[in-house]
């Protein structure tokens, strides 16, 4: 069991979600996050005062998968979230020890 975490551009969320659903992914968690990487922040100007905003808004997707689904999931995320510009984001893959469905108490594969 693995967790795939992807930091992506917000406007790519719908495409990524659709293609993960098409792969048979049954659930995922989305968070609005801010951060910085190679993409620089942006400038904001209010009444002539200039501010450099360093943290860029991104979307973090977290999805826990059976091992055999991971490579496909990573492939479609990369495909769908890619614009070719700096700031497209990153994908992390983490090992997960176990999962429990709260309602039924099912564990492992059954719970995801």
């Amino acid at each position: 069991m693995k967790k795939v975490e992807a930091i992506i551009k917000p406007f790519k969320l719908d495409d990524v979600k659709e293609s993960l659903s098409a792969l048979g992914v049954k659930g995922l968690t989305v968070t609005e996050v801010k951060g910085f990487g190679r993409q620089r922040g942006h400038r904001e100007v209010y009444r002539g005062a200039e501010y450099q905003v360093d943290f860029v808004s991104k979307i973090k997707i977290e999805v826990v998968l059976e091992d055999e689904l991971v490579s496909d999931a990573v492939r479609v995320i990369q495909e769908k979230a890619k614009t070719g510009q700096i700031g497209d984001g990153k994908i992390f893959i983490l090992s997960v020890e176990n999962a429990i469905r709260i309602r039924t108490g099912e564990m492992g594969k059954e719970a995801i």
Binding site: E44, V45, Y46, G48, Q52
Partner: protein, 423 residues
């Protein structure tokens, strides 16, 4: 028919002088000007950070209540009551004693004295509310209430008397201020400077980005200000007549042109036109046309508004250079805009617009500019000096500034135990 007693006859004659159209117009104008203060609350509220939105809105909103009470108890009497040496009205009209349904011979001779009183009440309300932009995000609420009460009594009331009160020294000198360029805008602008200096900069000045949290709220507020300003300026004619229409039109023109000129300046200076710039420009134009609105024609209004956008943009830039933290640019917009407007009245006033006024420099009367200059200078010195003193007194009594910890938490939680947004 019952025989009429002499005083009844006199009352009937007064009543005949009353004009229903004028009365309706002044009452509606009062309601329009009232709306400006909640409008200002939104204008300012959108420009602060989310944690201070209620604290900022509250400062304007509660002034509507506080200064209304001050006004009916002693403020109106001090401002417009029987004159003492050209400096202040007496307490003869304390609690509106003697201020009734009959017109007063000087203050709107065709409308009930009460209508004039409540129209002026709305001016007394919005003026201290304007100052709150300077110390937004860091002043204690109790100190703010005390300061506002003192400021209304010791700064606004005397100034209103000087300029508009029967026997006030500025009006006797011939200074022209149709709707409050000196009384409202210069006074709030320079008091804002004093407040920014005494209260000090916000935490994190220079390193924290004080980014407006809700500009749509600010734009809505600016729209309400623009709308209410028709009552402010046209209503100052105190009659539903041609002068009111003229004031209405030049007010609208100046605001429109100033919105454009501010936008143009920032487009050139910073590369992009902004909505906050358009809203700020519109307000700057309204400020600048205020003193001359009953004395200048449409072409002059284009010029006054056009320069207002440029001058106030420059005024706002100045705070960064000089290092005072006037949070929401009261100095830049009301101080600079009001000063420009008062002087511009001395340039562009024309008896062709208002025969009760004087001509300005461009209409053959250079002396008027000198008179305007004296009134501007006196207002600046008086309002700045008094505000410094009052703030020191308040600081000594209650302490003026919130603790660093409270400032960090934000005014909403630290002063009012509530939050503007629960998501």
């Amino acid at each position: 028919m019952a025989r009429s007693l002499p005083w009844e006859k006199e009352n009937n004659e007064r009543r005949e002088l009353m004009n229903t159209g004028d009365t309706a117009f002044v009452l509606v104008s009062s309601a329009l000007v009232m709306l400006m203060t909640p409008g200002l609350a939104l204008f300012y509220g959108g420009m602060v950070r989310g944690k201070n939105v209620l604290g900022t809105i509250m400062q304007s909103y509660i002034i509507l209540a506080l200064i209304t009470l001050e006004w009916v108890l002693w403020g109106y009497s001090l401002s417009f009551g029987p004159d003492h040496g050209g400096l202040i009205g007496g307490l003869d009209w304390f609690g509106l004693r003697g201020v009734g349904m009959e017109p007063h011979e000087t203050y709107g001779p065709t409308v009930p004295h009460l209508a004039f009183m409540v129209f002026q009440c709305m001016f007394a309300v919005i003026t201290p509310a304007l100052i709150t932009g300077a110390f937004a995000e860091r002043m204690r609420f109790n100190s703010f209430l005390l300061f506002t009460l003192l400021w209304a009594t010791f700064v606004y009331n005397p100034l209103a008397h000087w300029v508009w009160g029967s026997g006030g020294w500025m009006s006797k000198m011939g200074a022209m201020d149709f709707a409050g360029g000196t009384v409202v805008h210069i006074s709030s602008g320079v008091s804002a400077l004093a407040a920014a200096l005494v209260v000090g900069r916000r935490l994190g000045y220079g390193s924290t980005a004080y980014i407006p949290h809700n500009l749509p709220m600010t734009i809505t507020g600016a729209a309400l200000l623009w709308f209410g300003w028709f009552g402010f300026n046209a209503g100052s004619a105190l009659a539903a007549n041609g002068l009111a229409a003229s004031a209405f039109v030049v007010t609208h023109i100046a605001s429109a042109v100033a919105a454009l000129s501010w936008l143009l300046v920032e487009w050139v200076h910073r590369g992009k036109p902004t909505t906050l710039g358009a809203a700020s420009g519109a307000v700057a134009g309204l400020v600048a046309i205020t003193p001359g609105s009953g004395f200048v024609g449409p072409a002059s209004a284009i010029f006054i508004g056009g320069l207002a956008g440029v001058i106030c943009y420059g005024g706002v830039m100045l705070k960064g250079k000089l290092g005072y933290d006037d949070s929401l640019d009261v100095v830049g917009i009301h101080g600079f805009g009001g000063t420009w407007g008062a002087l511009a009245t001395g340039l562009f006033a024309s008896k062709a617009v208002n025969s009760a006024g004087s001509d300005g420099l461009f209409f053959g009367n250079p002396g008027q500019l000198g008179v305007q200059f004296v009134s501007v200078l006196a207002t600046i010195v008086f309002a700045f000096g008094m505000t410094l003193i009052l703030l020191k007194v308040v600081d000594w009594i209650t302490g003026i500034r919130v603790t660093d910890e409270d400032e960090e938490k934000g005014m909403d939680i630290s002063m009012h135990d509530e939050k503007g947004y629960s998501y």
